[in-house]
C-alpha cells in the first residue's frame, strides 16, 4: 500500500483483508503459511508489528486456531487465516469456539481439493463452511466477498458480527480473490465498530466473581439447554443477517445463482445475454450462512428457473434446491479441481436451460 496521494490503492484481496482486520481493531493474529493466502500472513506480520498487536507464526493450524481461542477468551479481537487443507485442521478449534461462545474471524481463501489437491482457486469448502464443519450441532456466519473492496468491507463486518453474536465468522474467498489486485478505497472515517464490552472474558477476577469459559456441561439436561440457547442465537442470525445482491430478477426467466469470484463471471454472462434479449437475472448470496432461502423461495413461486454456477460439483446447489422447494426448475453447472467456469460455457448452459 504505497500510494501516498490517493485514498484509492491497488492491493490484492489478501492484503485488503489484512488491512481491514487492522482497521477493525484486530490485535491478535496467528497463522501457518499456505498458498494461496501467504500474502495475508505476511501482511499481518508487518502490520501487527507496526500497530503493536501480536503476530504469531504458529507450529500448525491446530495451534493457530487455539491461540486465537486463547486471545479471544482474553477479550481480544483475534483472527486466523488459511486455505482449504489448513481450514480442515482448524475445524476442531472452530467447534470449541462456538461451544464456548467465543468470537473469532477465520479467513479461508479456498483452493482445490480433495486432499492436498493443488493451489488453484475453488469453492469446494461450501458445505464445510456453511454446515459447521467440525463436530457438534452448530453454524458459523459465512461471508463471501466478490471483489477486493467488498473483501475489505466484509472483513470489518466479520469482526462486528463475531463480537455481536459471540460466534466465529468465516470470510470465504477463493484463490482468485486472494491473489487478484483491484483498487481499494480506504474510507476516510473509520467504521463505527461495536464498542464491545466483554465482561465474560478471562482477564483475572479482580473485583468480580471468577469467569469460566467452557463448552463442557456434564449435568443432565444442561448441555441441551446450552444447545437450545445456541440454536436460538442461530435463529436470530438467520432472521437478521441475511445479505445478498439481486439483479434483474423481476422480469427474468432464468436466474443465475453464484457467489464470490464466480458471480462476477455470471454478471458478465447476464449482461451479454441481456444484450441479446434473453431475460436473465442474477442472485449473489453475500452471506452463505445464513442463506437467502426466503427470497429464492418467493422467486420460485413465480416459476423462475435457477441456474446455479459454482467452482465445485454442486454444493450451494443444494441450498437453492431447498429454497425452491421443487416449485421451479433448478439446474447446475460447475467445474472443480481448479477449473473455472468460463463465460462461453455458462452461456451454453443458459441457452439449453432457457429452451428446456
Amino acid at each position: 500500500m504505497n500510494n501516498k496521494n490517493s485514498r484509492r490503492i491497488l492491493v490484492s484481496g489478501n492484503e485488503a483483508v489484512g488491512e481491514a482486520a487492522i482497521q477493525a481493531g484486530c490485535t491478535f493474529y496467528a497463522g501457518y503459511p499456505i498458498t494461496p493466502q501467504n500474502e495475508l500472513t505476511a501482511y499481518m506480520s508487518r502490520r501487527m508489528s507496526e500497530t503493536g498487536g501480536t503476530f504469531i507464526q504458529a507450529e500448525s493450524e491446530l495451534a493457530a486456531i487455539n491461540m486465537v481461542f486463547g486471545a479471544s477468551a482474553a477479550g481480544a479481537r483475534a483472527m486466523t487465516s488459511s486455505s482449504s487443507p489448513g481450514i480442515s485442521l482448524k475445524q476442531e478449534g472452530i467447534s470449541y469456539l462456538v461451544g464456548c461462545k467465543l468470537p473469532a474471524v477465520i479467513v479461508n481463501m479456498m483452493r482445490a481439493g480433495p486432499g492436498l489437491g493443488n493451489i488453484t482457486p475453488a469453492q469446494g469448502d461450501y458445505f464445510q463452511a456453511t454446515r459447521g464443519g467440525g463436530h457438534g450441532d452448530y453454524r458459523t456466519i459465512v461471508l463471501a466477498p466478490s471483489s477486493v473492496q467488498e473483501a475489505f468491507e466484509l472483513q470489518i463486518l466479520a469482526f462486528d458480527l463475531a463480537d455481536k453474536y459471540r460466534n466465529p465468522v468465516i470470510l470465504l474467498g477463493d484463490g482468485t480473490l486472494g491473489q487478484m489486485m483491484e483498487p481499494l478505497t480506504l474510507h476516510p472515517t473509520p467504521y463505527t465498530l461495536h464498542a464491545t464490552q466483554k465482561p465474560w472474558a478471562v482477564t483475572g477476577c479482580k473485583e468480580r466473581e471468577p469467569n469460566v469459559i467452557r463448552s463442557l456441561f456434564l449435568k443432565e439436561g444442561v448441555l441441551e439447554e446450552h444447545n437450545k440457547k445456541l440454536q436460538k442465537k442461530f435463529a436470530e442470525i438467520e432472521k437478521k443477517e441475511i445479505r445478498y445482491e439481486e439483479k434483474n430478477t423481476e422480469d427474468a426467466e432464468v436466474i443465475l445463482v453464484a457467489y464470490g469470484t464466480v458471480s462476477r463471471i455470471c454478471q458478465a454472462v447476464m449482461e451479454k445475454a441481456r444484450r441479446k434479449g434473453a431475460k436473465v437475472g442474477l442472485i449473489r448470496p453475500i452471506t452463505l450462512w445464513p442463506f437467502p432461502y426466503g427470497m429464492i423461495n418467493k422467486l420460485a413461486d413465480l416459476k423462475k428457473k435457477f441456474l446455479v454456477i459454482e467452482m465445485n460439483y454442486g454444493q450451494m446447489l443444494e441450498d437453492v434446491k431447498l429454497a425452491a422447494e421443487g416449485k421451479s426448475k433448478v439446474k447446475f453447472y460447475g467445474r472443480g479441481g481448479g477449473g473455472i467456469p468460463q463465460e462461453e460455457e455458462i452461456m451454453t448452459e443458459l441457452l439449453h436451460f432457457s429452451l428446456s
Binding site: E59, V68, F69, A73, A74, A78, G204, R214, L216
Partner: protein, 246 residues
C-alpha cells in the same frame, strides 16, 4: 479465615466436594496450586487452563478465571491469552495424554518460543478418565486396558521423558520433576510450583513442573500401595529433582 473443619481456608480453592477417586493425586495437586496462588497473592491475576481428562472440570474447584481447551491444546490457548494479557499469570494443568501424546507439538513449540507461562504436568502413567489405557508415560511392562500383557517396547515404544526432552530447549527456563508420594515429596512439589509461578512473575520464560501422581483406581492398587508404587517403580524411570534452572 477458617472453614467448617477449622482449617485455614484457601481462597483460590472453592469449598466444594471434589469428584476424584479416593487417593487420586489431582486433589492434592489442586490444593497445592491454590495454596501457592494464595501465598503469592496472585489469585486476581490468575488465568488457568483446564485440560481434557479427569481434571476437565477443574474450574468447579478453582476460584479464579479459567478457560477450557481442546485436548492437547492448552499451551496454544495459554500462548494466546498470555500475549493478550502479559501482566496476568497464566498456567496450564495437563495430564500425560493431553501434554505428552495428543499435545506434544503444542508443548514443544510453546516451550521453544519461551512463552512466559507455567505448566503443571500430571503424570500418572495411565489414562484415567477413559478407563485405564496406556499413556505415553506408561512404564515398560505396565499392564493397562490396552497393554494387557504389559507395555512392550517393540510394539508400544518407550515411556516419554518430557522434562528431559523440554530441558533441551533454550526457551524453557525452569523444569522440575516432583512426586505426590510422601509428605516430604508433597512439600517439595509445592516449592516447585511456587518457583514455577515466580519464574513467570519475574518474566524469565517457560516453566514446567512434572508431578508424578497416583491413580489407585486404574493402577488397581490401594491409595497407600499407589504411593509406594510411585516411589518404587515410577521414580526409577522418571527421576525426581530439578532438571533445569536457568
Amino acid at each position: 479465615m477458617k472453614d467448617e473443619n477449622n482449617k485455614e481456608k484457601i481462597k483460590s480453592l472453592r469449598n466444594v466436594p471434589m469428584h476424584y477417586c479416593p487417593g487420586c493425586g489431582h486433589t492434592i495437586a489442586h490444593r497445592l496450586i491454590c495454596e501457592v496462588i494464595d501465598e503469592l497473592d496472585i489469585r486476581e491475576k490468575m488465568i488457568g487452563i483446564a485440560p481434557v481428562g479427569c481434571a476437565v472440570i477443574a474450574y468447579d474447584y478453582w476460584n479464579f478465571d479459567v478457560t477450557e481447551a481442546a485436548h492437547g491444546r492448552p499451551p496454544a490457548v495459554a500462548t494466546g491469552i498470555k500475549r493478550v494479557e502479559p501482566d496476568k499469570i497464566v498456567f496450564t494443568y495437563q495430564g500425560d495424554g493431553d501434554l505428552a501424546s495428543i499435545g506434544t507439538a503444542e508443548i514443544i513449540h510453546c516451550a521453544n518460543r519461551g512463552e512466559n507461562i507455567s505448566v503443571f504436568f500430571i503424570n500418572n502413567a495411565i489414562y484415567g478418565m477413559t478407563g485405564g489405557q496406556m499413556a505415553p508415560t506408561t512404564l515398560i511392562g505396565q499392564k493397562t486396558a490396552t497393554t494387557l500383557t504389559g507395555r512392550d517396547i517393540k510394539r508400544d515404544g518407550y515411556p516419554l521423558k518430557i522434562c528431559e526432552l523440554l530441558a533441551l530447549l533454550p526457551g524453557a527456563k525452569y523444569i522440575e520433576r516432583v512426586a505426590l508420594s510422601s509428605a516430604e515429596n508433597i512439600r517439595q512439589a509445592k516449592r516447585a510450583m511456587k518457583k514455577a509461578f515466580q519464574t513467570q512473575i519475574e518474566n524469565k520464560g517457560f516453566s514446567l513442573v512434572e508431578i508424578l501422581s497416583p491413580c489407585p483406581t486404574n493402577w488397581r492398587l490401594s491409595p497407600a500401595e499407589a504411593m509406594k508404587w510411585i516411589d518404587k517403580k515410577m521414580t526409577s524411570y522418571f527421576p525426581l529433582g530439578v532438571v533445569k534452572d536457568d
